[in-house]
């Protein structure tokens, strides 16, 4: 209510004039969630991608005398059961996790959009066929399929990206299709068709543009999903393979030794998974609120 009233009174003249400081304060005030998410994401990305250059200790070198030691000056996050530097491994694990999760999210994103748009803009019988296929794929439990395939062949990074990407798109495809159907008979689409705009022109220039908020938000959630799925796989020993590691793999190693109470092997990896998913979700929520207000 207050929102529409506020627009009602300022509509004829346009924006209010405010000082730069006031504007910055308002910008932040509205965007707490988004900014927190972005700061967190930058920290995690910096940690994982720049970390290897700043903290050059090897994640693979075995320090036999220092096996399973708690945090110390030499090993800030302690060592694992065979004496490898846990901080270096956390950084390497982050790198391995993100290098798979982000491309997998992009792949999912592209597949979902293309499939969804194709269904929405095709004649209705093709739409029906595509949607039944989608139902069939959705009926398969995603994680089980993932486990099946990763058990079948030992996946490298590229295969993991393909696996995660190819199994995760149906949800997004359905969202895109439903949204595109809601948009496709709006007056501005009809007007564009009257000017001679074809189906793919309409999809590209209009439908994608109107859906942009939903897509951006979903993209951020997808990154979070991928980190979680990959961590899950690695936790089960099916993701990133030794000697390389990922956050999920680190967590698994730590939990195997839980009887020895090596909290430094469990807490940091768990925290990183938690924080990166939270960052993705905060960004998604923040963007959603922003776009929601703009609508």
């Amino acid at each position: 209510m207050s929102n529409s009233l506020a627009t009602a009174i300022t509509a004829p003249g346009g924006a209010l004039r405010r000082s730069a400081a006031e504007r910055a304060a308002m910008w932040l005030g509205d965007r707490g969630t988004l900014v927190t998410g972005l700061v967190l994401a930058v920290l995690i990305l910096g940690f994982s991608l720049l970390g290897p250059y700043l903290y050059t200790a090897s994640p693979y070198a075995i320090h036999g005398h220092h096996a399973l030691q708690g945090p110390s000056a030499t090993f800030p996050l302690g060592t694992d059961q065979i004496g490898r530097n846990e901080l270096a491994r956390l950084i390497a694990g982050g790198y391995a996790t993100l290098i798979v999760s982000i491309p997998a999210a992009i792949l999912t994103f592209g597949l979902g959009i293309v499939y969804g748009l194709a269904a929405a803009l095709s004649p209705s019988w093709i739409d029906k066929v595509l949607m039944r296929v989608l139902d069939a794929i959705l009926a398969l439990p995603g994680l089980v399929v993932l486990i099946f395939f990763s058990a079948l062949f030992q996946p490298g990074n590229f295969e993991l990206i393909l696996l995660l990407g190819l199994t995760s798109w149906p949800g997004l495809a359905r969202i895109v299709r439903n949204e595109a159907i809601a948009q496709r008979n709006r007056d501005f689409i009809l007007a564009t068709r009257q000017f001679g705009g074809g189906t793919w022109y309409v999809a590209r220039v209009h439908i994608l543009r109107v859906m942009a908020p939903i897509l951006v938000v979903n993209a951020t959630f997808l990154v979070g999903d991928m980190v979680l799925a990959l961590s899950g796989l690695s936790f089960l020993g099916l993701g990133v393979q030794p000697p390389y590691t990922s956050w999920g793999g680190l967590l698994q190693t730590g939990l195997n030794l839980i009887a020895l109470d090596p909290w430094w092997m469990i807490l940091p990896a768990g925290l990183m998974i938690f924080l990166s998913i939270m960052a993705a979700n905060l960004i998604g929520q923040g963007l959603l609120a922003r776009f929601g207000a703009a609508r």
Binding site: A8, I9, T10, G13, L16, M26, Q194, V205, R209, R295
Partner: protein, 627 residues
Amino acid sequence: MSTVLSLEHLSVALKRGRGRPISVLDDISLTVNAGEMTALVGESGSGKTIASLGVIRLLPRSAEITGKVMLAGTDLAALTESQMRKVRGRDIGMVFQNPLSALNPTTRVGNQIAEVYRLHTGESDRAARARARELLGEVGIPDPAERLDDYPHQFSGGMRQRVMIAMALACSPKLLIADEPTTGLDLLVARQILTLLSRLRREHSMGVLFITHDLSIVEEHADQVHVLYAGKSVEWGGARSFFAQPRHPYSQALLGAVPRLGQARLASIPGNLPDPESRPPGCRFAPRCAFREPACETAYPAPDTTGGTIFACRRAREINPAALLDAVTPEAAPAAPVNRATALEVTALGVDYERTATSFIQGVLGRKDKMRALEDISFTLGQGECLGIVGQSGSGKSTLGRAVLQMIPYQGHVILNGEAFDAMPRAQRKPARRRIQVVFQDPKESMNPRMRIGDIIAEPLKLAGIRSKRARVDQTVALLDRVGLSDRMINLFPGSVSGGQAQRIAIARALATNPGIIVLDEPTSSLDVSTQALLLNLLKDLARQDGLSYILISHDIAAVSYMADRIAVLNGGRMVEFGAAQEVLTSPRNAYTRELIAASPHFRTNQPGGALDIMEFLPSTAQPSAV
């Protein structure tokens, strides 16, 4: 006559963000008497809705309110929130513009009405249900007992508004606030709603505060009129004296802007509503007023109480009403030589709509019901001609427009410049379609909200194969100029322009492909009356200059009569009347046409110019049908 509601020097200022409060309503005083209707009239941004929210105390917490709101002797400002909650719905009934969003779509209407009654009276379910049935009957819904268990979507727009009124009446309130209850409804239905409100207020001696932007609709029903402009009262008083002779230039222009049967040119108001943050210190209407003098711009004029109505204008006494109307009525553009070659021919056009079968078994079997939306429509459209298509919602008029535009499948033929679309090879159909363009009812809905105005207008140019960006920009600027907009618009998004400006942009875009024909689908029915007048005048000028042909689709026969050379009346998917506009208006053969004419605002006899009073030759037997 007892006073139900009185606003005494009510002012409202709203805060936005951390800024200083902005005055949106400035020193309004008005009264509503028992059994009477007070019309609060103003265009978008006038503050009329703020005033109604001020009465029921639903303004945002940050609003600064001064002045008094007295309901039957109680000062509403002194009540606590929980006392106020009891007043809303019990002492004050409310009816809003969009009944579909005001009713809960998942609850049966009988239960919704009963709920209000039960909440405020504490009566039993059975008594509440009986009351709901009684109310539905009272607001003129046939078979109330059977319709109690229907859902809102099973009612037509007019019937939904009646349900809303039944809800508002549930506890026999002293005051009914109706905020634009007829906007968005067909004129026939709107008139019926007003007649209903008038009957109810008399029977229950209830005061009605009727908020509207359309003066013409309250002409026959209001007892008092109060005109707002930019948050200030400009003229108020008894409806009889107001409609006999409005004194304020704004009231005059507002009345002159309503298309009436037989009118040659609409009055229009140049310029825009002042920004609430930079309102002129003097008379707020002065910047747009044809009669302003330097003194108008420095101090707000004191109300003049010597005549029939009270008005805040220092010059109204000296101005001759005839000169006033002339001053706000712009000259028509010179006409292009008329060349009545046939631009479009439609023969035996029919459209079927499929809808999913209603029964479950049929749905499972994939059977579809066919519904005939249009049947056997034939007409020709000459070059430079405007054909008006008139009918109520559901008459098939928009379907006809869409068939002509080739947006939906149809039977029969649509022949453009001698070539039928169905006989054209596929490759030719696309360029042929470009020759017929469309302007929709809701201009904002007809533009991608995430595209800049410049790109929106340039899009058809791009699709028509103009590759050079420079050329596209030049043409866009030229198009904006043709519809009377500045090229500063280019970088704005549709969300930041007004409704009237948005509709001009839509027209500019339609003109971009240089079409011979434009289908105008209710082009002005979402706009304020003064904006509508400007737009209709613009469309008329464009047609005269370029020999454009229009198919104008509207439920408002007066607006159509202002534009159209010939008029076709649709009812239930069939053309029930077709002929020269003058002929259809003066000697309608069909009873339905007569009803439509009877529902539209009429040319007033006391207006200067001495035009015919169309009422003279209207049959007096026109009976309003059930909605």
